[in-house]
């Protein structure tokens, strides 16, 4: 049976056919669909039905939901993690005689790499999973269909606030993570030193730690403190909504989609981190070539 769209394909020029094939092959893979969803959500922010009041209310609610509810766990994890890193770095560098790289190591481990990643993991586990359960439940109850038949774009109504709010929350939480890892971690170690009578023989003062860390920070670090959480936040929320909205009307798919959203978020976050790290490597190469 000849269908209308077959005829449409025949009408395309050679260039058109190439672009059609390219576009279709990108849209067939999962990542392509997720990127499309991300841009649809972003562009829906500017659609006709925008209203500053409701949009900002939804986004602030989502930010609050993502950020505040994760805060206690994040704070404890960051503090303990920061304390461990400070102890390890101080003792190891002291033993090996590289005391002058304490600041560099702290910046690389806490601020540059593990801070954003651990924050993203915590948010993916807490907010990503709850977002996909929430949207998945709405899909099952055909609430998403109902939204569409009322002319309310589900992507705008459900995905957009989650995306923007989640990304803002990831950004704020990453800064809080790094700050509490260094600040509260320092206090924990001071407490340990007071209790154990300095059994580790650490010569740690806030002056020393803060000066070392601040002198080790480069411009690139400040840029990536902003970029990394934004990328991770987009990945978490887009992935969560994508997995949830792909559910057919079957209740057993909801836990599956939730698990998938968390695991895939972890995977994408690490992949994105590797890609972003390439910029650091380029920075290193520049510095090395300067020295040579």
């Amino acid at each position: 049976m000849e269908r209308a769209e077959d005829k449409n394909n025949d009408n395309l020029t050679l260039l058109g056919k190439i672009f059609h094939k390219l576009g279709m092959s990108i849209m067939c893979i999962t990542i392509g669909q997720q990127i499309v969803l991300l841009f649809r959500a972003l562009s829906s922010f500017f659609s006709e039905s925008r209203s500053f009041k409701t949009d900002s209310k939804n986004i602030i609610l989502q930010t609050f939901f993502t950020g505040v509810e994760i805060f206690p766990v994040l704070f404890v994890v960051a503090t303990l993690f920061g304390a461990i890193v400070i102890v390890e770095v101080m003792t190891m560098t002291g033993k090996m005689g590289f005391s002058d790289v304490v600041g560099n190591l702290m910046v690389v481990v806490v601020i540059r790499e593990l801070g954003p990643i651990l924050t993203a993991f915590l948010i993916a586990g807490r907010s990503g999973s709850s977002l996909s359960t929430y949207v998945g439940g709405m899909v099952i109850n055909s609430e998403v269909d109902a939204l569409a038949t009322m002319g309310v774009d589900p992507i705008r109504y459900l995905v957009m606030p989650g995306l923007i709010g989640g990304t803002i929350a990831t950004f704020i939480m990453t800064i809080i993570f790094s700050a509490s890892a260094i600040g509260a971690g320092f206090l924990v170690i001071k407490g340990l030193i007071a209790i154990t009578g300095n059994a580790l023989n650490l010569q740690l003062t806030w002056d020393y730690l803060s000066t070392e860390i601040l002198s080790a920070m480069t411009m690139m670090d400040f840029v990536f403190i902003v970029i990394k959480p934004l990328v991770f936040g987009c990945i978490i929320t887009t992935n969560a909504c994508y997995q949830a909205m792909n559910i057919a009307h079957d209740i057993r798919q909801v836990p599956k989609a939730t698990g998938k959203s968390v695991i895939k978020s972890f995977f994408y976050i690490v992949c994105a981190d590797v890609v972003l790290s390439i910029f650091y490597f380029l920075d290193y190469f520049n510095e090395i070539s300067k020295i040579i």
Binding site: A4, C28, D145, T149, M150, V152, D153, M245
Partner: protein, 270 residues
């Protein structure tokens, strides 16, 4: 054609289409990459013409694809084949989506109501109005109150959907659709789950909408007495096609398979 609300020509629908639109996937994808092999067909060549202000009941045994047909008309399912005209305007298959059709003021009342479960009744009704910015906040409030009064859910305005009974949820869903001033209203089993009292209240409301607002209505129902009380035509999904619309009296007195099957009880009772 200018006085037509809906025209369906040669509609084909198969089981593989029933999954419906997935909103996370690009629309072009489902359009270009469709399942081409002809699997089991649910609807095979249905035709329907609905005039403005006309009410039509679609009946038939369950499992015949009545709800699927309604979802096709609302744009949630894209048919294999067939041409659909809304108010005389042809919607090509690449634009056949729920959002596009909702722009033409087509409303759908789901079988289970499908209220947004984390919003109160008032906000549920207000959601589409506020989203589409239909008037000032005061006008929207008035509209909501009117809709709630019509469906007698004013006392439950600040309740969540899970606190309401099924029948009440359905009334709220109808109020939500009504508040949008639809030109074509699709109702999936509006009276199932309603008690006799509310059923009797609902029918005059449908009648009012038909006469006052010139709303065209399609009702999917098992309750064939609705057609008699509303004095409208009935079509049946039979043998995978839609029969011609005829009045209740025609069907109850006709001598064919559908009448014998579905009107047996009604005939005995009179």
């Amino acid at each position: 054609m200018h006085n037509e609300a809906l025209r369906i020509e040669d509609l084909h629908l198969s089981y593989s289409n029933l999954l419906g639109t997935v909103f996370s996937k690009p629309r072009a994808l489902s359009f270009f990459l469709r399942n081409r092999d002809n699997d089991k067909e649910l609807i095979n060549g249905a035709n329907l013409v609905l005039h403005r202000g006309e009410t039509l009941c679609i009946g038939g045994p369950s499992g015949q694809g009545k709800s699927a047909l309604l979802r096709v008309i609302a744009g949630l399912i894209r048919p294999n084949q067939g041409r659909l005209f809304y108010f005389g305007e042809y919607i090509p298959p690449e634009r056949h989506s729920a959002l596009e059709i909702a722009k033409r003021q087509v409303g759908l009342v789901f079988q289970n109501g499908a209220l947004i479960s984390n919003l109160r009744v008032r906000d549920n009704i207000a959601l589409p109005l506020r989203y589409h910015k239909k008037g000032t906040p005061k006008e929207i409030d008035e509209k909501i109150n009117m809709a709630m009064d019509l469906m007698r859910v004013r006392n439950e305005a600040n309740m969540f959907p899970h606190q309401l009974s099924v029948g009440m949820q359905k009334r709220v869903a109808i109020a939500r659709s009504w508040a949008m001033d639809p030109r074509l209203l699709l109702m999936d089993e509006p009276t199932a789950g309603l008690d006799n009292y509310n059923r009797r209240n609902l029918l005059p409301l449908i009648d009012n909408m038909r006469t006052l607002f010139k709303t065209s209505i399609i009702i999917i129902t098992h309750d064939l007495m609705i057609a008699k009380e509303l004095d409208c035509n009935i079509s049946f999904l039979h043998n995978r096609t839609l029969t011609d619309p005829h009045s209740f009296n025609y069907w109850s007195s006709a001598d064919n398979a559908i009448s014998r099957e579905l009107f047996r009880d009604l005939r005995v009772s009179g």
